[in-house]
């Protein structure tokens, strides 16, 4: 019992640390999760970690939360999930609450307004850059960039929800499977 409780606390602590020290969201968290879970704690092997990543990235939802759920569940079941998820979401939750509750005034500050005038277009460049960075690894066939650009134009300028592209993907995959049976 004590051993189990100690492990739950450890799960909470590790994911709290990951949640508290990674800036820039999901993808930025991956190296730290790897460091903690694979290198330091040795809870999973390197190979297993790559499996977990491809799985948690292909499932919907935040990568950080997905990874916390998957690893916690594998290591100590449903109760573990509670502690892992609580740990990973908690730092974010309290820091944002602190900012949101003062942001109304913070927002009207002249220096904050000036700073955000530059930060806003910069953030757009960060997002654009992440397209390049991800694409560099993922897009092997250069022609696929046309598909990517068309998808992005449809979402951005026709205001079509990305959900429909996911549903389309499911239908497309089913057709490919059925076609393979046909052959």
């Amino acid at each position: 019992m004590m051993k189990k409780l100690k492990f739950y606390f450890e799960l909470f602590y590790v994911f709290f640390k990951i949640g508290a020290f990674t800036l820039g969201g999901g993808y930025a968290m991956i190296p730290l999760i790897q460091k903690e879970i694979v290198d330091n704690k040795k809870w999973v092997t390197e190979d297993r970690f790559i499996d977990i990543l491809s799985l948690t990235q292909s499932a919907p939802g935040p990568i950080a939360i997905n990874t916390a759920v998957f690893i916690s569940y594998e290591l100590s079941g449903i109760a573990g999930v509670f502690f892992g998820v609580l740990g990973s979401a908690m730092p974010s939750f309290f820091i944002i609450l602190a900012i949101a509750s003062i942001f109304n005034n913070f927002n009207e500050n002249i220096y904050v307004i000036k700073a955000f005038n530059v930060i806003r277009p910069m953030v757009v460049s960060l997002i654009a850059y992440s397209v390049y960075k991800l694409g560099k690894n993922v897009v092997k066939d250069k022609r696929m960039w046309i598909v990517i650009i068309i998808i992005s134009l449809i979402i951005a300028y026709l205001h079509i929800s990305p959900i429909y592209f996911i549903i389309l993907g499911v239908i497309y995959s089913i057709i490919r499977v059925v076609k393979k049976w046909g052959n």
Partner: protein, 175 residues
């Protein structure tokens, strides 16, 4: 009460249908929170991204917490939104873990993942395109800032935190 239920299910939906994490989720949040529910303006939305850049944690939890607080003015609202965001992950990932082997060998999942990796990049690009508007690009300086920071990222792969700090300083100086 109705507001809390709407918050929970809106973030449940975002959590359920956003693939690829990080910026890919932003497109979903943008669609639901800015366009559909009008809980945040486009400007507030970008400020939320900027705040998420300088604060730790997953962008999705940051957004859920922030929107929950903005809409209800209470910590409980933030809690309900975050819970909505996390709920689908818990359910789906546990199912994934249970049926892991079955899913891994399935052709259907293989094809779907192959398609999704391209779609997800398209989603992120869409988020960037949607943000190039009058709210965020107020004058020609904005376009110069955008291009210069893109060039810096491309050349030096600058840390987003560092770039945010530099931008804040530049903003105070030039505006």
């Amino acid at each position: 009460m109705g507001e809390l239920i709407l918050l929970y299910f809106t973030f449940f939906k975002i959590g359920l249908f956003s693939f690829g994490g990080g910026y890919a989720i932003l497109t979903m949040i943008q669609q639901e929170v800015v366009y559909k529910q009008a809980w945040l303006s486009s400007t507030e939305f970008v400020e939320l991204i900027a705040i998420s850049q300088v604060t730790p944690g997953p962008i999705s939890i940051n957004s859920a917490t922030y929107v929950g607080y903005k809409v209800t003015g209470t910590v409980f609202g933030s809690f309900i939104s975050s819970l909505g965001m996390i709920s689908p992950s818990i359910i789906i990932i546990i199912l994934f873990a249970i049926f892991f082997r079955k899913f891994k060998d399935s052709k259907l999942v293989k094809y779907l993942m192959e398609y999704l990796k391209y779609a997800v990049i398209g989603f992120i690009l869409a988020a960037a395109l949607l943000l190039i508007n009058k709210d965020n690009f107020m004058d020609y300086y904005s376009y110069i800032i955008f291009l210069v920071s893109l060039l810096l990222l491309y050349k030096y792969d600058l840390n987003p935190i560092l770039l945010t700090i530099i931008s804040a300083i530049v903003g105070v100086v030039i505006y």
